[in-house]
Symmetry: C2
Amino acid sequence: MTTTVERAQYSDRVPIRSIILRPDGGSGLAGQHARVGGWVKTGRKADKDAFAFLELNDGSCAGNLQIIVEADKGDLGQLVLTGACLQVDGVLKLPPDGKKQKVELQVEKVIHVGVVDASKYPLPKTRLPLELLRDYVHLRARTNTMGAVARIRDELSYATKRFFHERGFRYVNTPNITTSDCEGAGEMFQVTTLISEAEKLEKNLIKNPPPSEVDVESAKLIIKQRGNDVAQLKSAKASKQEIGIAVAELQKAKENVLKMEERSKLQPGIPQKDGKIDYSQDFFARQAFLTVSGQLQLESYACALSTVYTFGPTFRAEKSHTSRHLAEFWMVEPEMAFAELEHDMDCAEDYVKFMCQWLLDHCMEDMKFFADKIDKSCIDRITMSAKTPFARITYTEAVELLTDAVKNGKKFENHVEWGIDLASEHERYLTEVKFQKPVIVYNYPKEIKAFYMRLNDDSKTVAAMDVLVPKVGELIGGSQREERYDVMLSRMKEMGLPIEPYEWYLDLRRYGTVKHCGFGLGFERMVQFATGLDNIKDCMPFPRSAGRADL
Amino acid sequence: MTTTVERAQYSDRVPIRSIILRPDGGSGLAGQHARVGGWVKTGRKADKDAFAFLELNDGSCAGNLQIIVEADKGDLGQLVLTGACLQVDGVLKLPPDGKKQKVELQVEKVIHVGVVDASKYPLPKTRLPLELLRDYVHLRARTNTMGAVARIRDELSYATKRFFHERGFRYVNTPNITTSDCEGAGEMFQVTTLISEAEKLEKNLIKNPPPSEVDVESAKLIIKQRGNDVAQLKSAKASKQEIGIAVAELQKAKENVLKMEERSKLQPGIPQKDGKIDYSQDFFARQAFLTVSGQLQLESYACALSTVYTFGPTFRAEKSHTSRHLAEFWMVEPEMAFAELEHDMDCAEDYVKFMCQWLLDHCMEDMKFFADKIDKSCIDRITMSAKTPFARITYTEAVELLTDAVKNGKKFENHVEWGIDLASEHERYLTEVKFQKPVIVYNYPKEIKAFYMRLNDDSKTVAAMDVLVPKVGELIGGSQREERYDVMLSRMKEMGLPIEPYEWYLDLRRYGTVKHCGFGLGFERMVQFATGLDNIKDCMPFPRSAGRADL
């Protein structure tokens, strides 16, 4: 262990993490000089205002560094306020009683103070309900909970990159604006410039109204006059220069009429054609939407690079006001060629385990915070998920288990029978009560699954799989993709899907088709699984949902 | 070095990379059994069709594995076609003349063939122009160039994660749908459900037209009749049951009228209020756009976690048809608290160098491809950028250098004088001709920069910086942010910006303000810098631009 303080890169400060998260809690650094910066969590004056104790947090970790400032070093009244920003030089020293903290900083010089008006600052030192904090998304990262969420998200995203990179998966950025509809346009956001263009035009037309028919007619008369002028000058054998000027005037008059005719055609409002919106005038010359999944496009890369994944935002315009849904969320989607459903399940299980182990190895300070304040069982849940093999059952077995449960007195709101889409209550029963660990359910009835999932030999089920985990329910959904052109085509027809928009997707089956599979993991659900937070809106820095998109 | 073949995870195949990219080119694996899969690049029959030579590529690397199949193992006519997919078991062996490849695979069994109709497959074995390939974004990843671009993108994105993670930066997902306009709404895409809702309503109204006034009046008459029925039954002392039925009928008639009145109010088209679009009925209950930069939101996290970055898509609705612009592109944006412009420049330079070194360490096979086929100088450029300190000059010095150049006969299309925004030709002159290496230009006139950039003591310039690199010009733009509330407010007023939408942003200066800075790197420009590709549309898997958004 080094016994000199480690400076942050691209700053003169020392991250508080590198002081207090040392195995010795920082005591080995006593005597060293350090510059630190951060925001005051709590502060109090002591010894008749001779000095102040401040708890300083810089977000590098959950813990605070205790700071001692004497009255001659600064305005203690400003420094003790929750939310004040502070950068100071000081000496690390052992506190008189080293129980709570192993080291503290005695200030030698105050470098910077960012004051706070305590009467207006919306985040007092007392704990606010998470729901209320959502009204302050620009400040809530300063709270213990949201700071910890941010670090967990960061670590899970880094673990994701490591997991896939180390296994040869290539990161592909699938498009966010798409003209290809994955599973039905009902829930998609439209991306357009038609409205803003129409508004611009309207403003323009008000400021500068289009010419009337009468205006155009009189402008046409001017052409005639100018024409006559030219004719007269020519017959009068005027100078070349004079004729030239008159010809130019004639030309100008003609151009003016063309412009006026053009403008008189301008119609306020969104451009229409044959009674419908004329999307040929939209930015992309056709209707465009925000993606609901990168899967289809990603498959085109899997059918070239073999193992790929995407990790990006996805969008759903569902007006559901639940604690489980966001209008914008992040999704991790791997796609593997030369691989079948069992490989898919192996990859999904390994990936979830890898993230769980990563949390245990790198995030224990924050995980302890969640276990302490939010969800007692979260560390146990993550530890168990990292180490225990997931259960794997077919959909048919799952329905049997649920039916048995009903027979034994378990009450579900949704009726259980073969063919139903499992409801959240069913999923949570399987993973939380029956198996008490993550469960993979596979081979679902084809009627409840998408057209691209591979038809099994029984012709009734498809090679789909969902990973269910305690606390969350469905964390991952995936499938082996149908690689047989004929089978896919007949399933699309069976389901009444239009063929033309999927011609490119069918091309992947026409030209060098390959067995392949993949899945999608809802990243915010993984954060929820880790932290035990009840509302998914608190698992996302800037949550978007029906009626709400702050900032 | 291991001398057994390494299987891919989640597949039974061996990635071709782990055979031919060994230091010995795979010769040490001779005698080993391996299953490989991939797509045929070229194939030819030999020895009177007794066997075929195939060049197989699985995208794990640029190189192909040579495969030898005898006629009794499969339909050679199908196998030799460019684009066919193949999975085979075989034995690795030393080729008779080991000049071109060090190892080849003798097929023992063909596991899978994905055939291709050569007469229809749009990608023949001859090289197609990149512009033409853009018509086949779903297949072009199978070409040598686009495969190499995909691997370079992947490695640069991984290098980005490593660089920032190892330096304590936390990854924050800033929102893609935003209600906060970064620098002026003109170039933003609107995100809405108003149009699709209006279309849905219109269909509904055609199918099921709203009731006319006459319809409503006759429905109201029914209420009267039902009321009379009830009164009659009561006065006739009918049974409770009879009266109950009549009351229910009355109730139904009333509800029917309410419903009809509700429906008769339905107006086709986008909802209006006071002659304007009524955004309170849009999905987010207000106007929403796609983000043009995550910076402002990211600052709120920097003012809590100290060092953060975002890496996500950004969107510009600019109708420019250049080889330098995309409507959807990815941007890397770090933001650091307790840091000033010099830290910002240090970080930007280190980050670019780190990526260049990463390319040299991890991507030489693909870099050699680009040097060979696309841009001779790309490896030299990347090597130089990795090792040479970047030049750093003020904007004022840059203008002086450009003025000197003009004096010495250099011709620019755009006039040079203090105060101009440097044009691409100026930037490229500085980095390509004058310094012949990356250049950081800093302290720009405030008039040409955004309101949030920190005003320098001269009151004329702001603490902005751009990193210019050969081939591309501006790769990075950044600044120290104005942390002084009063200065920011007066600059906003000076520039005529509305204050209300930025109140949250001003809060970051009101409550615990801190010196901070950051920058944005256009990820596709970095890919262009690395590969030397002329058109940025080829640096993005699924490019979007005015009039074009395939898939």
